[in-house]
Assembly symmetry: D5
Homo-oligomer: 188 residues x 10
């Protein structure tokens, strides 16, 4: 089966979040709100901090949309904390990071580069039922765009809230949507 | 193995393109240029035409970047032609469409919704070696954004042309890039 | 086991019929009446419309005989509707068409040309118990004959209604039939 | 794979034909001419003789079209001869009968009713390359129509002789045919 | 296990017997009386009629000994009737014939010549418990001897009726028998 | 495959014959002459000596017909010799006995009563090519008839010597035979 | 597992004993007394009678020790009786012989020479619980020594009756035995 | 296969022998002379020393007969040396001991008591071709008899040296032997 | 799974301990106290006694810490006793030795040198729940250090008694320990 | 097979070492010198730094003994560098660290705690042939002792350099060693 429409597989990981004690996150924590899994290759590396920072700036907006965000790499939660303590850019990030040294999440989402033991640069948006609705992966060296991610989550939330309507290409919040009907088949 | 970094599997499909006789496309045709596979569920349906049209407007830009584009659904090439002949929006599109009634491409890229016989709303960017570098899938009802796709292809082309540099998050053509080095580890 | 005498396997397909909303058809809908499955390769193609039209002209007769007819190809119901909307010949047809983009029916009746993803030019007559009684397939380019189909269904209905009688070769409604008995063995 | 387009599997059977000694027939004998395999359940039974006789009357026409005909049942060649010697109707038939007491042909063409050891009432038309092009099966008690068979073989021969043309529904020799082209897609 | 001492396997066959409608015979019909299965290759052939006729002459004797007889070949019951109707020799035979076109009996008794689809020239004597007690097979061209068969059945019936006695070589009804005992071991 | 028409499987056994040293017999010794294998349950037992003696009286006749005879039981050659030395009846027998304590022959001919370790009362006639042509088995207590055996061997030799002729039922040397031909089919 | 200490496997054999009718022996008959199985290759052969006679002379002694003895070969009980009737030496033996033509005992005790169908020259002593305590096998041509066998059975009976004592090498009835204890470890 | 007549399987063991350095023994060392393997449960235990001592007294005799002797237990060669150094009885023994802590020999000869890790009280006599000719096992507590062992080896050597003769029961060197012949069958 | 943290597998062995009768030890005996398994290659060998003696000197200390010690080799308990009786160094040792001639313990702890049948020079410390907490193996010729073993057991006991504290490198009883906390991550 | 005596399996890992660029290490780098693999659970954690520091103080000594040392955890080389840059204790360490985020080394040496994705606290000493000679693992919370490690490596180097000598328990450099010989067996 394709990944879109599939349910997130069970997992257990230890999280680090600024200002909190370490805590455990499982697939149970996804219930009832939207979730972003934001995978990146490794702590202390290059493009990653700019992407993580770019997403960090949207965190308040996303929290306001009832969306939780998890940064994920195959490093431990100890390493995540150490990075947070020693990097200015990472030190400002408020969303939690998951330690995936077990490779469970990277394998569940099929983004482990097996010959390196590191995750792809991959984003997954999960709905309040734990179902994956949106995904994106870019190759090494190409940064993602947090604003576009927000746009797509808004569209997905709109569609969930308004059954029977769809958002056209490059739709922005507030734009017109379409209501499909038999009469429109072959007419657009 | 994850899909990013994998090579496109062999396929054979009949294409329809405005102003041309039907012709065959295989994985051999991907060699030496960049390729976008733009999957959508079905001819004659709703969000699809706005997405296909949105991408159609970028086709000249993409051709200028040496990128070919293929629209793909599980309809036949006969159906693609009929849609082109009868829809104003689709009638203006210049890029070719592949008939995937065999489901080969949808299965090769793992985007077949098996209970429906239709493809996901999925985009794949393939480099001149036939290797998948970027992918994106959105759920039913959420339109993609062709401008963001162009941005990411530019970044990927930049990285391929400039080994040793990376494009930070939300990078736009002409912005600064980063050159990773040992000294930067843990310093950004 | 041979196909004659076998029961139609379970299926589910979305149907298009002129003047109706899309609706679902399953093997349950076969119960209690006779059914014709009329497979053809693809919407918008050549011999098919003449065959479909030829059968369309017999639809009133067949309805009067309590026989339902389904046109079936591996196109979607969206495509069937678009064809109906844009072709004069197809636009006149009153019987429903099933979208078999999942290939379920084509495989159940063993008429999928697997290297093309299209169905054979095949006809199946199913009795009110869901059992296949008559079948016919012709190669690409050879049209079927709706009048001969009607003749055979009449014979099959006669045999079902009159156990102990058989219809000789090229029997037409109203002609004599035969009542087999021990004494006739070796005597005809 | 579907049966249409498949090649006849190897077989060996002893034939009886009026005025000749018993002789062997194999798949080699199909090469270079058209062949009809006309299966029926059993010698000395009811509908069968009328069908066999009906076909017998077309035998000269078919020979003139370079078509050989074989009657086939699971009886022996001894039985075929005895039937020929003792039945007026059968006695007049000029085409050969194959003894399929081994069930090879009935199984190869998938028409053996396994719980009875008898063949279906099935017709197969094989082209000069040994490929099955047309088939038809009717249930017990429903006779076939030799004239319709001749019509379909003529259409198949026409299509083979005139690549690029197709015969519309219920086509009779001498009627118009169609030449498919891109421009006709979606236009008929 | 050897065949002598084994129980006849389940079967179902349609029988033809002069002056009767077709009827079904199964292994249940063997209970409570002795049975002879008399296999031969094919209806309408050469040695067979003389053997069948030779046995036919003993049928009254055998009936008097409470023994039923079945002629068996891989022909159908239709064929058996036709042979009976058209052959003087066969027409006089009173015992029933079984149609084994399914090959069930020929396989159960291990006498099917698989490359021909015909049975061996084999005789089996079954006791009232359905257990095979005597068997004989001769090659093609060598006729059996019904009188010798009657002699052996009489001996088998004698042994069954007189436990503790045995019939010496070439014993004829009324001759002396032997009663085995320890004292006779090594003394005859 | 049925046993008639099959080739004798390889074996090796030690033989005892009056007036000779022990010697070995294998399937090689069957070449070029006819052979009778005459199985019986055990040395020193009851019916057996009368059967063995009855056959012994035909041994000269059979030698004259170029037929060798082997008595076979699961006893050793030592036991065969001891029986010959101590029994009047057995002492007169001139044909050799094979020791089958290995059960090889009994299993090859499928006549071992496995729960007893003894052979059936079974006769096999093998032609000069090592092919089994005639067989017969009787239950415990029923003696065989050596004269009838001679009759059948004569018929088999006649058929072998005169291809194209067959011996009718209960044929005796010198009686008429039949020459099968197409014209006779269905005529006897 | 080694054979010493294993339990005799189930068997059933027919026994011959002078002055008695044939009777059956099974593993049940071993309960409650000591048993000797004395295997030898074949009735009517060479070393065997001297060994069987040597053991026969000890039979009274063994009976007095509550030990039963069985001579065993792959010959039948018929053959055992015949040998007893015709050989002076064997005729004097009082212990029973088992017919092992089924090879069950020879296989259970692992002494069948499979390429010959004969047993080894093997002795087994079984205790009243059916457990094998002593065994011995000699090659072809080497006779056993019944007196030594009696010595070993006496030792085994002594050990069973006197737990905690052991009989030293070449111990004879009445000699000293040893009582093992911790203090003796390393002291003898 | 039975053990008598089988060839000793490959092994490698370290040996201790009085007055020598440790040395290795393999199946190669058996070639060209007779060998006794004398298994016992454990060093420093009870019956064993008396048996080992009893055999030790025959060692000169056996050497004179060209027979080598190996004591074998699952102890190491270190333990064998320590026992020899500390026990008066064992200290006098001249033949070598093999350390079988690997269990190779005990398993090869099928005498390992698997639940204890100790060998049975078992003797094997191997001929100059490495073939086992004589074996004996006694239960725990019953000592073997070295004199009887010598007797049997002498008989086996006699038989090997004099093909065609056999030694009767309890044969002692110098006694009469038997020459088997056909005439003797059933006569002794 | 790694060995540390795994539970000792079931075993049964006979123990020798100075001044006691032989007794059995199983995994049940590990419950409720700490246990040291001290493997060595063989009784009566070289480095072993110095290691065993070195450990013997710590036995009182270990008993005082509620730790039991078992010396283990693949020798029998008989051999252990003999070594104790004859060696001055070993004779002074108070802790028990287990006879592992069955190789159960050596295999359970994965320290059997399979080509030699001897154990590695390996130490395992098991906690009162039967879980292995510490292990060490040295190659042939390198002696272990009992004082270091005592140090590590003290640390393991301290950690078990004081959850939340850890002993730093080369910690000696009474030295400072560390209490891990979130604030210390990345700070030591 | 046990781990002592086994060869290190192939691996490839990226190393961080103070003052050097990242570099790759494989099993090839072990050839010709001694190597210590010093596994620990995670960067930035508690006991680990004291153990790593304790070993760091012995690094000069070990280099002088021609021994290389690798610290190994499942963290990346990026993380190792970041820890080195930010921790005073770790910052002083001169030996290299391997990034085992692939888990290859942890699995090869069987020390991966699979439910955590972290390595055990394990030390392995590998000789110049790549063979593991010494190993040690302690449970969570128990620190290792670098001085004891140096002592054992010295002993192992001594034994390798002086075949035929062994180091007794707790041997320190310069102390006496033992030369094993047959005479010493059972004498120490």
């Amino acid at each position: 089966m394709g990944i879109i429409g599939s349910t997130v597989k069970p997992f257990k990981a230890t999280a680090f979040q600024a200002g909190k004690d370490f805590f455990e996150v499982t697939e149970k924590d996804l219930e009832g709100k939207w979730t972003v899994f934001f995978f990146y290759p490794a702590d202390f590396t290059f493009v990653c901090p700019t992407e993580l920072e770019d997403l960090g700036k949207q965190y308040d907006t996303l929290k306001g949309m009832d969306v939780e965000v998890y940064g994920v790499s195959t490093d431990t939660h100890f390493s995540h904390k150490a990075w947070h303590d020693t990097s200015d850019k990472i030190g400002k990030i408020q969303y939690p990071f998951l330690g995936d040294q077990l490779h469970t999440l990277s394998k569940n989402f099929n983004v482990l580069r097996e010959e390196m033991g590191l995750a792809d640069r991959a984003t997954f948006v999960v709905d309040p039922d734990g179902v994956i609705q949106i995904m994106e992966i870019t190759c090494e060296g190409v940064g993602r765009n947090a604003a576009e991610l927000v746009r797509k989550i808004k569209a997905a939330q709109y569609v969930r809230a308004n059954p029977g309507q769809v958002c056209p290409a490059a739709w922005e919040e507030g734009s017109e949507t379409l209501a499909p009907s038999l009469d429109l088949v072959g007419k657009i």
